[in-house]
Structures are given as structure tokens and as C-alpha cells.
């Protein structure tokens, strides 16, 4: 059986509060916090991008696995913000973490589910026996246009999952994917900010796919919501994942551990993977965990996972998600945020 042998996450320490963004645009912060359930979000520094976030998360995953990185046979990064349009992020990450050149690399894109996409393929290659170890990463420095609702959520961070066959921290019991052609959110070649269909991104997009995928895997695995200790759903805002979870019969205590969005924001491809990392930081052996991602365009991937006895022993080798969310932070003004996110036009 294949499963997760190491995992790691990274969240930048720059933050901006929802009320600071609301103030900039003359919006009522109480309305934003009540409507979207968002308090603050992470912001990448000048020297942080999808590649640096991926490297930090991948190193943590290797530390927890305690393996020689040269044994990693495949590395996939899912992101909406690969620094290059043409030239992979994966090659830089592979060299930085000390692996290659005998390695298969690819960058994935499927809006916010590119991270679970990378995990899905990495798992499959390990299960097939083609490689001993494979890494799937979801990381983003998410884009949201100024004065768009997305600006309150689009944040930076990511998580890496290393799959193998021995010394598993987490068993993968089942996988499921659900995909349709639904244009709810998109960014065309050469455009800087994504566009979206407003309320169309809700019922016919997020909820349709997340609910169908979660129901599909529960049926396939012959499990019900109450069998799980934890569940995490893609977090485009604070409200959607709680609403989806409750519709499926999950209770608040099953959802709150992975629900990192109020403080972190939506790290797009890194969103549900980082929520999963936060769950693995505290899960007990034998706990069942459900993760369902969502990517616009649109589709969802689901995994049913089970923590092993090894998880508590190994996880102390790298920082937890909460240690980064609650740890040293630097709060930015909107002006500093605009500078860091290169929203200001300056001469070369």
C-alpha cells in the first residue's frame, strides 16, 4: 500500500488584515468579516514566490520522512502562479532540495486544485511501482484584482506531500475525482488577474463539485461523515467550506482544524493541502481524514486518509502550520501590500 511518508507546509509571515483592505476601498470591515469569515491573509515578500514556498514545504516533507532526497523519482508542483509561463518551477525546486537529475518533473495547472492533482499523480506513480518516492506540491502566491472580492482572500503559501510505500505516516485508503466543463473562474494567457462569474462560482461550481466528489468517495469507500475525525474542503473564503461540510453531515469539531482560511486566506492550489497539513500536525493514529479540493473550470479531488502510529513520532521534525500562522508576523499597510504585490506602476 502506498501513502504519505512526509509532509510539510509553508506560510509567509507578511500579513494584511481584512479591515485594512476594506478601509482602502471604503467597505465596511464588519460586513466582510461576517460575509466571508476572513480576518487576515498571508502576503508573499519580494523574495517569495511559488518556487520558494515549494522549496520550504518540500524540505519539511523530506525532514519528516527522513529519506535521501535522491530517491525521489518524480516531483510535481500545482500552482496558478508559477513564476514562469514557460520554464518549469519544478526544476528549480528539485535542484534546491538536492534531488535529480534522474527525476520526472512537471508543473500542473488546474486552478485551485492543481495541488491535489500533483498529489494524485505522485501517489499513482508510487502505487504502480514506477518510482520509489514521488512528491506532490500545491503552492501559490494567489492573484486577486484590487477591489475585487478576491482581494480579501488571495494569499500565499503551500504544502508538500511525499508519497512512498514503506514507513507510512498516513495510509491513502481511497481516491476520487469529479470533473466537468464549468467556466466559473479563469485567467487568460497574458492576463494578470483572474476573472470570475460572481455568484456563479457558488452553487453551480464550488458546491456542485465539492459535494459530488465528497459524496462519491464516501460511497466508494463505504464510509459516512461520522466515521471521520477530520475533514477539510477547499477554502475560497471562510463560509463555503463550513457550509459544504455541514451539508455533508460533518460537525464543526471535524472541520475547524483544517479550516485555516480565516488567518491564512486562500492559498489557491495550496489551500486544502495546507489545511490537511494542519490536521496531520495533530491527528492521532487511526484517525480517518477526508480532503476534498476544488479547482475552477471545474473539478474536485478527494482522498480518504488514515493516520498511522508513525505520524506522531515523525511530525516533530518540521514546523507545524499553526506555528507559522500564530508565529512571528508582520502586518502590512495597504500601501506596503500594494508594493509587495507589484500593484504600483514604477519606472524601471
Amino acid at each position: 500500500m502506498a501513502g504519505i511518508v512526509g509532509y510539510g507546509a509553508f506560510v509567509p509571515r507578511n500579513r494584511i488584515k481584512s479591515e485594512e483592505i476594506a478601509r482602502q476601498w471604503g467597505k465596511d470591515p464588519a460586513v466582510i468579516q461576517r460575509g466571508l469569515l476572513l480576518k487576515e491573509k498571508s502576503v508573499p515578500g519580494f523574495d517569495e514566490d511559488t518556487i520558494t514556498i515549494s522549496v520550504a514545504a518540500a524540505r519539511a516533507a523530506i525532514d519528516r520522512a527522513g529519506i535521501d532526497p535522491m530517491r525521489i523519482g518524480a516531483l510535481y508542483i500545482g500552482s496558478e502562479s508559477h513564476p514562469y509561463a514557460v520554464k518549469p518551477s519544478g526544476t528549480v525546486v528539485a535542484e534546491a532540495i538536492g534531488t535529480g537529475p534522474e527525476i520526472h518533473i512537471a508543473d500542473f495547472e488546474f486552478a485551485c486544485k492543481a495541488g491535489t492533482e500533483a498529489m494524485f499523480v505522485a501517489l499513482g506513480l508510487v502505487e504502480s511501482g514506477r518510482v520509489d518516492y514521488a512528491m506532490g506540491i500545491g503552492a501559490d502566491t494567489s492573484q486577486g484584482a484590487p477591489d475585487d472580492a478576491l482581494e480579501f482572500s488571495a494569499s500565499a503559501g503551500g504544502a508538500a506531500f511525499l508519497f512512498g510505500r514503506d514507513n507510512l505516516l498516513v495510509d491513502v485508503l481511497e481516491t476520487y475525482s469529479y470533473t466537468t466543463d464549468t467556466a466559473d473562474f479563469w485567467r487568460r494567457e497574458g492576463e494578470f488577474y483572474p476573472r470570475h462569474g460572481g455568484r456563479f462560482t457558488g452553487e453551480p461550481a464550488y458546491f456542485k463539485h465539492v459535494l459530488a466528489s465528497a459524496r462519491g468517495i464516501l460511497e466508494k469507500a463505504n464510509l459516512k461523515a461520522s466515521d471521520f475525525r477530520y475533514a477539510v474542503f477547499h477554502m475560497p473564503n471562510g463560509k463555503f467550506p463550513l457550509s459544504a461540510g455541514k451539508t455533508l453531515g460533518f460537525k464543526q469539531e471535524q472541520l475547524e482544524t483544517g479550516w485555516v482560511v480565516p488567518q491564512m486566506g486562500n492559498t489557491y492550489s495550496g489551500s486544502s493541502p495546507t489545511g490537511l497539513a494542519a490536521i496531520l500536525d495533530i491527528a492521532d493514529p487511526g484517525d480517518l481524514i477526508l480532503i476534498t479540493s476544488f479547482g475552477s473550470g471545474a473539478g474536485s479531488d478527494s482522498f480518504v486518509l488514515k493516520a498511522t502510529d508513525l505520524l506522531p513520532q515523525q511530525r516533530g521534525r518540521a514546523p507545524t502550520v499553526q506555528s507559522m500562522l500564530q508565529g512571528p508576523r508582520r502586518y502590512l499597510t495597504y500601501g506596503e501590500y500594494a508594493k509587495y504585490r507589484e500593484k504600483l506602476i514604477v519606472n524601471d
Binding site: 465596511d28 460586513v31 462569474g197 460572481g198 455568484r199 456563479f200 452553487e203 453551480p204
Partner: protein, 383 residues
């Protein structure tokens, strides 16, 4: 002129109907109307629609609707008077039958608003582009100015506005076709997001997809289609200045008043004879101004009607038993026809939990823009 009856009705559920296109919505409502009357032919179709061209890129709705109903060949045209399009379609259908030109006519309304268009910008085309839109005004802004004028002239309060929403949501909670089938409290309304002061989110009707259709024939032939026809006793139609600022008094909807006078005269009744009414509450202030213009409340006193219970179910004259535009939803070109369906059901005793007891005479009032066009119909139980 011949006497005219409504003999069948059909409508879709109202809401964000992502899976339904404009033509799907029309066909569902039109088929419902035809099947309820056991009719399999039509002489003509009038389709109320404000802006198919801008919402979904589709004009020329007459042939589209006739064709998709399986009736290509039938005379059919789209009717436009902004948010009064449905009411005007009903009026044209009424005149078509009354004149003797047609014997079986469908009056329909359809609007597909949730399809990616900038709805506020599309709706703004119903105001004056040169005198209003150019300066940045939108409909919430125009109705906010009407509300301010009403408050200044008559002492109407924000709480008075809130009570209109509370009452209409209470009614809409009982309507299976309503977009928002839930009640709201005065506190919730007063704490909802500001849209254009003094109007808040819960003072505003929503963006809605939906269609409605009614079947009209001469009263003398109505029994062929139903044993419980509803007679249209009168129709009144009027316009005012397109630009709100050009009106003598922005707190008075003079087109509504004029349309009502004409409808009352044609029907030979007055406001005191009306037992149930559907009025155009696109914003809560609109219901207050409309019930004054219709004569249900004295000028300046409309603000107290919802709070006192006068216009609630069980009150002296229940207004917007369907939930109104606020709770039932407001697919702009459909609204006028959907209002007629509510009164059709009320006068037939088919309104279930929201039935106004013993109603024999009812009224609908539909308007376009900031009240620049308005159409009023008066109905009577025909059995």
C-alpha cells in the same frame, strides 16, 4: 370591446436558475399556461422582456418563443417597457382579445438575468442615459433619492422601509415559487449592508431568473378552458418623465397614479373596492409610494401601512401576498405577468397558505424605471 378573461397560468420557480436558459424558462411557463387550460393553439403571443439583448445577447424573442413552444407561425413579438414589460405585454394581449382581433392569446414575461452580464449596468439603461446614467446614478441610487424625498416630505423613517421587507418576506416564506422563502426581522433589515443610503441590501429586490405566462380569451368563451375564469375588468397605462429630477415631486409616482385612475375608471371601481393587490416593490420605498398612488393609503401615510398590518395578510388590504419583488424575486420583464398570476390564484381561491379570505376583486401594478412607466390591471372573479 369584448370582456376578457384569464383562463390559464404557468410560471417557473424564481431564483438563480443556472441550468435554465431564457428559452427553457419561457417554454416551461408557457406550457404550464396552455396545459392548465387544455389549450393547444394560440392566435398570438406577447412576450414581456426588458433586456434579453444585454443579459444573454438574444433579441427577436417573438419568433424564438413561438418556435420553441412548437408554434412557429403564430403572431408573436417582444414587448419592452423596462421592468413594466410584463404588465405591458398583458395589456397588449388584453387589447388584442378585447378588440376582437384574436381569440386566444398568451401574455408572457421572461428574463434571464444570471448569465454573467453586469446587471446593475444593464438595468441602468432603463433610466435616462444623458441626464442620469452619465452622472453615475444607478437604480438603488434613484430609489434612495425617492426615499429621501419621501422622508423629508412626510417623516417616513428607515424603520418604515424595513417593515415593508419584513412583511413581504413573511408572505414570500409561504410561496413555493419564491426566490427567498424565509422571514427576516426588522433588526436584520436595519443591520444589512448599506447599498445607497438610506436603502440597505434587504430593502432591495434580488437579481432573478424566471418566466410567467397567462392565457387570455373572451369571457364568453372562458368556460371552454376553465370553470373558474378571472375577468380583467380594467387596464390603465401611463408614463411620466424618464428623468426623476424632472418630476414635480420625486416622492410622488405620478405615472402610477395616472395608470390607476385610468384602470379604476375602466373597471368602474375605486381603491376601496380592491381586496388584494400586487404592487411593484422593487425597493421597499417603492411599495410605500405605490400604495399611496393607488389610493390604498393617503399621501404621506404609506410608510405606516406595513408596520400597522394594514397591508399584511389578514389586514384591510393585503399587498404582495406572493412575497412581492423583494422576496419572490424580480426577473424584470417577467414581474408584471407573475403579479397577474398571484391575483389569478387569489381570486380563484388557489393561493393556499397565503390566501386572502374571500377576495373577489384584485389589482396589479407594475412599473418601469424610477416610475416613468406604469401599468395597472383590475381583476374580478369570473365564476
Amino acid at each position: 370591446m369584448r370582456e376578457v378573461a384569464i383562463v390559464g397560468a404557468g410560471m417557473t420557480r424564481f431564483g438563480e436558475l443556472w441550468k435554465y436558459s431564457l428559452r427553457d424558462l419561457f417554454v416551461e411557463a408557457a406550457r404550464g399556461a396552455l396545459e392548465s387550460a387544455g389549450a393547444d393553439r394560440l392566435d398570438s403571443i406577447y412576450v414581456g422582456n426588458m433586456s434579453g439583448g444585454q443579459f444573454v445577447g438574444q433579441e427577436h424573442l417573438g419568433p424564438l418563443c413561438a418556435d420553441h413552444l412548437g408554434m412557429a407561425g403564430v403572431a408573436a413579438a417582444r414587448v419592452e417597457s423596462a421592468c413594466a414589460s410584463g404588465g405591458v405585454a398583458l395589456r397588449l394581449a388584453y387589447l388584442d382579445v378585447a378588440s376582437g382581433a384574436s381569440d386566444l392569446v398568451l401574455a408572457a414575461g421572461v428574463e434571464k438575468m444570471n448569465d454573467g452580464a453586469d446587471v446593475t449596468a444593464v438595468l441602468a439603461t432603463a433610466s435616462d442615459q444623458e441626464n442620469e446614467v452619465y452622472h453615475g446614478i444607478t437604480f438603488p441610487g434613484l430609489y434612495a433619492m425617492i426615499a429621501r424625498a419621501h422622508m423629508a416630505a412626510f417623516g417616513t423613517t428607515e424603520e418604515d422601509l424595513a417593515w415593508v421587507s419584513v412583511k413581504n418576506h413573511r408572505h414570500g416564506a409561504k410561496n413555493p415559487n419564491a426566490q427567498f422563502r424565509r422571514e427576516v426581522t426588522v433588526e436584520e433589515v436595519m443591520a444589512s449592508s448599506p447599498v445607497a443610503a438610506p436603502l440597505r441590501l434587504l430593502h432591495c429586490s434580488p437579481v432573478t431568473d424566471g418566466a410567467a405566462a397567462v392565457l387570455l380569451c373572451p369571457l364568453s368563451e372562458a368556460k371552454k378552458y376553465t370553470d373558474r375564469p378571472v375577468k380583467i375588468r380594467g387596464s390603465g397605462f401611463a408614463t411620466s418623465t424618464l428623468t426623476l429630477a424632472d418630476r414635480e415631486n420625486p416622492a410622488v409616482l405620478d405615472a402610477v397614479q395616472l395608470a390607476a385612475e385610468r384602470a379604476y375608471k375602466a373597471a368602474g371601481v375605486g381603491p376601496k373596492d380592491i381586496q388584494v393587490a400586487e404592487v411593484h416593490d422593487c425597493f421597499s420605498i417603492a411599495e410605500i409610494c405605490c400604495i399611496e398612488a393607488l389610493g390604498f393609503a393617503d399621501r404621506g401615510r404609506g410608510g405606516q401601512a406595513a408596520r400597522s398590518g394594514m397591508t399584511a395578510l389578514g389586514g384591510k388590504i393585503p399587498v404582495n401576498t406572493s412575497g412581492g419583488l423583494k422576496s419572490k424575486g424580480h426577473p424584470v420583464g417577467t414581474t408584471g405577468v407573475a403579479q397577474a398570476i398571484e391575483i389569478f390564484e387569489q381570486l380563484r381561491g388557489d393561493a393556499g397558505e397565503r390566501q386572502a379570505n374571500g377576495a373577489r376583486i384584485g389589482l396589479t401594478q407594475n412599473m418601469g424605471g424610477s416610475g416613468a412607466s406604469s401599468v395597472v390591471h383590475i381583476y374580478e372573479r369570473g365564476f
